[in-house]
């Protein structure tokens, strides 16, 4: 018994220690972003108090960059990509798992190439194509690329989820006379909700966080995403610690907030065995 309790205690010590390693640096950056310059350097590990509290960094970020625009762009690009990746991915996954036809296995293989081969390697041609189509420096270009990037893994994950839906359900729907398209939209699609978290972690979060494609496909402030905007702002104001910490925190906080709110679903979705 005693040995067991000592063992449990040891496990907790290790897990707490690693959890601190994981969130400590993030906490440090966020904490110091609310402090005056002197306090940042004087006592970096102290939380802000009445004396040291300052929003000067945030004022600077709002003043010197189009952070609201960047944020809006990221939101548009990520949401549009997410909706389309989920919708198109689920439809394709359903068609590939449910309907067998000549070439369906080959098509599934074709679609899975993108899981392993990063689309980034096609950047040279993507840029040429977008220029030719007059789409360079538009959010549309980003959304199209991100859908193409996200689909293969989304189809893979959603197929696994679809296979877990009892086959009897669609048989029952067919006996009930439900048309094939409605079977997907009214019977299958609502049951895929638990998959959204898994798809989000593996395909949507990388879109929000991506630097590469905004870097090569967008050139003006009006189309920059938050990741690129912050990156460029950081490069420009590298010596202004208040501004840098504030910019970092502004990029961190929304993600952390959403993550913490949904972490239960997110993690249960991840561990539900979708990716085995």
């Amino acid at each position: 018994m005693l040995k067991q309790r000592a063992e449990t205690l040891g496990v907790h010590v290790i897990l707490i220690a690693y959890s601190l390693i994981a969130i400590g640096p993030i906490l440090l950056v966020v904490m110091n972003s609310f402090k005056a310059r002197k306090a940042i350097f004087g006592a970096p590990l102290a939380p802000p108090n009445a004396d040291t509290f300052s929003l000067v960094g945030y004022a600077k970020v709002f003043h010197a960059s189009h952070v609201v625009t960047y944020f809006g762009n990221s939101l548009i690009v990520t949401l549009a990509s997410m909706v389309l990746v989920l919708l198109l991915g689920a439809m394709a996954a359903w068609a590939l798992t449910e309907y067998r036809f000549r070439g369906s296995t080959a098509l599934a293989l074709f679609l899975s190439i993108g899981i392993m081969v990063p689309i980034r390697l096609g950047s040279v041609a993507i840029l040429k194509m977008m220029r030719a189509a007059g789409l360079n420096d538009t959010l549309t270009a980003l959304i199209l690329v991100y859908i193409a990037q996200g689909l293969p893994l989304a189809i893979f994950i959603l197929s696994e989820f679809i296979q877990q839906i009892p086959k009897d359900l669609r048989d029952a729907a067919r006996c009930d006379g439900v048309p094939e398209t409605r079977i997907f939209f009214e019977v299958i699609a609502p049951l895929l909700r638990p998959a959204i978290a898994t798809v989000a972690v593996f395909t949507i979060v990388p879109i929000w966080n991506d630097l590469w494609f905004p870097l090569i496909l967008t050139s003006s402030d009006s189309t920059h995403t938050i990741t690129l905007g912050v990156q460029q702002f950081l490069g420009q104001y590298i010596t202004d610690w208040n501004a840098v910490l504030a910019a970092l925190s502004m990029a961190i906080l929304p993600v952390v907030a959403i993550y913490v709110i949904f972490s239960r679903q997110l993690i249960s979705g991840l561990t539900a065995g979708a990716v085995k």
Binding site: D168, L169, D171, A173, C175, D176, G177, E186, P190, L191
Partner: protein, 364 residues
């Protein structure tokens, strides 16, 4: 309400034959049970009647109408699945009405049908609940209700009780029997449980390895099994089999002897000396004492159930046979016993496993 007619149905996946030349005619209002060991093709047959799987060849007629090319919904069937297959994101009411929307049933009519089915199955208090909040028995009733509101010509049940616990299985079985009387509908019911088959069926179809072994009324199958498979499948514990050989023909009777049986006379009609055959005796017909047929062995185990006990007896050929013994006076393990059976309870099967209509006449 409709007749169902199946004509030379075959199904194979590549080399594997799942169904072989299945012919079957089901009467209007009949309760037909398909029974057999797992993998015998009974579920496949049901799914083909439903239109969920396509036959490799052969035809299916429902109400004199060839339905091969029709979608399930156009066949006027309803199916109750083993897993219930309730839509998890719809409440009970929606589950029952969902399919009706697509088959053009007007709203008022939908309401009437649901009200009626809910009353019949005592589902009224559950209509607003979701499947996850229902017990197994309630889910099964909803699944049956969903079938009833479709007012189908034929009800199809795919092992509907196998996910229920023992007590619930009995009460739901009674419920289904009551529904059949009430609705007077044609029902085809798949199960691997012979008790379900015996209690529910007007007629039973015993299937094995994709073929129909026998079709008949429950007690006919029990008393007159067509072959070794049916004889062994229907009845629990299973029938005891004894191998034997025809010694000689004498006065229209064949004298049979075997490794663990005393010699027995059977009608000679189809036999000639030297022929192999199998004799079958049900455990309840094997008793202690004298009879036309006798065998002996050593008791290995006695299972006491109360109304009867099952003695497992090791025979001379080292196989076990089971005898049902009534009363408190049971043999003890290790005891040698002689068991016998009256002539009319002995089943005779020829070398190909087919049962001969007549029974042995007397002991030799």
């Amino acid at each position: 309400m409709a007749k169902l007619h199946i004509d030379a149905l075959n199904k194979s996946y590549g080399e594997t034959k799942v169904l072989v030349d299945v012919d079957l005619a089901i009467e209007d209002g009949e309760f037909l049970v398909l029974v057999g060991p797992s993998g015998c093709g009974k579920s496949t047959l049901l799914r083909m009647i439903a239109g969920l799987d396509a036959p490799t060849s052969g035809d299916i007629y429902i109400a004199e109408r060839k339905v091969n090319a029709l979608a399930p919904a156009e066949r006027r069937i309803a199916m109750v699945f083993q897993s219930y297959a309730l839509y998890p994101h719809m409440d009970v009411l929606k589950n029952m009405t969902f399919g009706l929307k697509f088959t053009g049933v007007p709203a008022a009519e939908r309401e009437r049908r649901v009200a009626e089915a809910a009353r019949m199955l005592r589902l009224e208090p559950l209509l607003k609940r979701y499947p996850r909040d229902l017990s197994g028995g309630q889910r099964q009733r909803v699944a049956i209700g969903r079938a009833i509101v479709r007012e189908p010509d034929v009800f199809l049940f795919d092992e509907p009780l196998s996910n229920l616990d023992a007590a619930l299985r009995v009460s739901t079985r009674v419920e289904i029997a009551r529904l059949h009387r009430l609705l007077k509908a044609t029902m085809v019911y798949v199960t691997h449980d012979q008790i379900e088959a015996m209690t529910l069926a007007d007629r039973i179809v015993v299937m094995n390895q994709g073929r129909i072994e026998q079709v008949g009324k429950p007690l006919d199958l029990y008393y007159e099994p067509a072959n070794l498979f049916v004889a062994g499948f229907i009845g629990s514990p299973a029938m005891n089999f004894f191998t034997g050989r025809v010694e000689r023909i004498e006065g229209g009777e064949a004298l049979v002897t075997g490794p663990c049986i005393g010699s027995v006379a059977v009608p000679a009609a189809t036999f000639s000396p030297g022929d192999d055959l199998t004799l079958g005796v049900r455990p309840e017909h094997l008793g202690q004492g004298a009879g036309a047929f006798s065998t002996s062995g050593m008791v290995e185990l006695v299972e006491r159930l109360g109304e009867a006990s099952f003695a497992h007896v090791r025979r001379a050929d080292d196989r076990l046979m089971v005898a049902e013994i009534r009363g408190r006076d049971t043999p003890a393990p290790g005891e040698s016993v002689t068991l016998s059976a009256p002539a009319q309870d002995i089943h005779v099967f020829d070398a190909r496993g087919r049962r001969l209509a007549a029974t042995p006449v007397n002991s030799a």
